[in-house]
């Protein structure tokens, strides 16, 4: 790797702030589901926050991401506003997608969140297309595809990486390896030890990184994004991480290795990063606590607003299906 300098203090604080936002947002999501205020099918990304936070501090506002059902952290780190997000979770007219898409299909072009897909593997070919549009227009934007470890076994992954490589598309493929695809372990489903090793099949750089280590992940993200932006083509990052709350929130995680899970939760990357921020003297505990409280209150307001927002009209069923009736 070229750039091993790590983030500046300012950037590290920003990175932490993004992590905190994703973590607190997730805590609120689980809270409102548990207490029945806002029941929904929810795929918690708790534990994976550092990855998109580190990516996002290296991305520009006009760079774009394509993410998946478990992509709440990817979204908020990229800048999807929590009020529109929560209104969408609640299925309200004020939601990002007017309530039509829901949690699995959050879209917010303004912040660069171009696609959230519920289909495993499908974020990659579409991220290629965004990258292709930059290439065709001679723009130096970068496109990011987020996906899981299990997605690396589906056909779309293979086709997308091959195409991105031969055309040197400015795209970064970020595999968030949380060791499970639904209830199946990575090892049981995957014929290779490291997803990043598959990069060799496509003649592209493959980076294996501890996605829970903010500094390492920052360096990996910076290297990959710089590489793509400078026209050298795509990069595959495999960021090792863990999801704390199973596949779908509320599932009986009997399929999980409980010791592994316990270990992972003890090594929660967000408080670790918080400690680092404090120990480096970037911010004090009190300052961070204040910041976190502000985030939490913003989210709680967003939830309140979402709950009291109007439902979409039923005639919305006939709208946005096509551009206009022909």
């Amino acid at each position: 790797m070229d750039n091993q300098q790590g983030p500046t203090n300012e950037v590290l604080l920003e990175l932490y702030k993004k992590c905190a936002l994703a973590k607190i947002n997730d805590e609120n999501a689980r809270r409102v589901i548990m207490n029945g205020t806002l029941p929904m099918i929810y795929y918690s990304p708790r534990g994976q926050e550092v990855i998109p936070a580190a990516m996002s501090v290296n991305l520009r506002d006009d760079d774009t991401i394509c993410t998946i059902y478990r992509g709440m952290h990817d979204m908020v780190c990229k800048g999807v506003p929590v009020d529109a997000l929560w209104a969408e979770y609640a299925g309200k007219a004020t939601g990002t997608c007017k309530g039509k898409g829901g949690p699995m299909h959050i879209t917010h072009p303004e912040s660069g969140c171009m696609l959230t897909t519920g289909i495993v593997g499908s974020s990659l070919p579409i991220a290629n297309g965004l990258a292709l549009s930059y290439q065709l227009r001679n723009l130096d934007n970068v496109s990011v595809a987020y996906f899981g470890d299990a997605a690396s076994n589906i056909g779309a992954f293979h086709e997308a990486l091959n195409m991105a490589s031969i055309w040197k598309l400015p795209v970064v493929f970020v595999c968030q390896n949380n060791r499970y695809g639904e209830h199946t372990t990575f090892a049981k489903a995957t014929s290779v030890n490291k997803v990043s090793d598959r990069a060799a099949s496509y003649g592209m750089p493959g980076i294996h990184v501890d996605g829970n280590d903010a500094i390492a992940m920052y360096n990996a993200a910076k290297e990959a994004i710089d590489h793509a932006r400078s026209g050298k083509g795509p990069v595959l990052i495999e960021a090792m991480t863990f999801r704390f709350y199973g596949h779908v929130f509320g599932d009986q995680d009997g399929y999980m290795d409980q010791a592994e899970k316990k270990r992972a939760m003890e090594n929660d990357p967000v408080p670790k990063l918080r400690d680092l921020v404090i120990s480096r003297g970037i911010a004090s505990d009190a300052e961070l606590t204040e910041m976190e409280a502000a985030i939490d209150s913003e989210i709680k307001q967003a939830i309140e607003a979402a709950l009291s927002a109007p439902w979409p009209d039923v005639d919305e069923l006939g709208k946005d299906v096509v551009a206009s009736a022909v």
């Binding site: 039509k100 829901g102 289909i119 589906i154 209830h183 439902w311 039923v314 919305e316 299906v321």
Partner: protein, 330 residues
């Protein structure tokens, strides 16, 4: 041993259908994502216990690779096995349509009958759970438009058991459609080893004024509508297709010849759906018996929406079906 206490759920019936079939015939094996017990026997638990009972080799959790899953099923079927595949949700079949349509469906014909593909592909779907645009499509019309496939679904536990058994022992590829919301539906217990014949519809309620042809979750909706009309003195016959393709023309024709009025109802988009074929055939064949045009109930032309009021409006409801029926009775 029909359990009159209606204590069996659809999920139990499906599980038993597979268990009983596997016990009887060791050419039967199961593939699908998360279906083995270490992975909790499937996301909905339909295959729970089967890997423990029949072994990890015959009940395999797979990678997320639907093309490879269906391909593995086809190849094994070509060699005389009877694979039962789970495609977790019907929308995910879209990544495996080549395997299903260009291969499973056609190999008997293209080989001139030398090979066959006795394969069952289970796939679940259904709006109503707020899973939105990519997890609740109804693609039965696609499969029905494909020569060589049988398309099957059920409305109660005993049929779920008997139809799945028939699919498993059938010598052709069968698309067995499940509905998430149906899993907890209770009914009489199926008899062990009982099979419901493919291609045979069932008159689930007799009537003389109007026929409702439907399948799957629509059957209970149709029965509610029938109840409502009964209170008004209108007698509604309800036909549960059970096999969507090939559908039982004889039973439908007999019913419509008697009632002279038909509504076809399904959860899928009305436009270009299964109901269109039934309407087209019935109006042609029973032209002189019909007292009114065939009408259809089905979903509007849009993706499945997330927001609860939109989703409810999207789903083919008692009111939707009732509206169509009333238009016929005017």
């Amino acid at each position: 041993m029909v359990n009159t206490e209606e204590q069996t759920t659809v999920i139990q019936a499906l599980n038993a259908a597979m268990a009983d079939a596997m016990e009887q015939d060791d050419s039967i094996f199961l593939l699908g994502e998360d279906i083995a017990d270490p992975e909790e026997g499937g996301v909905a638990g339909v295959t729970a216990g089967l890997s423990t009972r029949f072994g990890d080799s015959r009940v395999r959790s797979t990678p997320i690779s639907e093309q490879a899953i269906v391909g593995a099923g086809i190849g094994a079927a070509l060699n005389g096995m009877r694979p039962v595949l789970e495609i977790m949700m019907m929308n995910f079949a879209t990544v495996a349509m080549d395997m299903i349509v260009n291969h499973a469906a056609k190999l008997r014909f293209m080989s001139g009958g030398q090979t066959q593909v006795p394969l069952t592909i289970r796939m679940a779907t259904g709006a109503g759970l707020s899973t939105a645009g990519q997890h609740a499509d109804y693609l039965e019309a696609w499969f029905a438009h494909t020569a060589g496939l049988k398309v099957v679904t059920y409305s109660n536990p005993a049929d779920a058991y008997g139809l799945l058994q028939s699919c498993i022992f059938d010598n052709d590829p069968c698309i067995f459609i499940e509905n998430f919301l149906s899993y907890s539906v209770k009914g009489g217990a199926p008899e062990k080893g009982s099979r419901v014949p493919l291609g045979k519809a069932k008159v689930v309620r007799e009537g003389s004024d109007l026929t409702i042809v439907c399948y799957g979750a629509q059957v209970s909706i149709a029965l509610s509508v029938a109840e409502k009309f009964a209170a008004e003195g209108v007698s509604v016959e309800v036909v549960d297709l059970r096999t969507i393709s090939p559908w039982d023309q004889e039973t439908v024709f007999t019913s419509v010849a008697k009632t002279g009025r038909l509504v076809v109802s399904h959860e899928a988009l009305k436009a270009f759906g299964v109901g269109a074929e039934i309407a087209a055939v019935v109006q042609q064949e029973l032209w002189s018996s019909l007292k009114a045009p065939v009408r259809r109930a089905g979903a509007p032309t849009c993706p499945v929406p997330y927001s609860r009021p939109l989703e409810l409006a999207f789903m083919t409801s008692v009111e939707d079906l009732e509206t169509e029926a009333r238009l016929l009775l005017k």
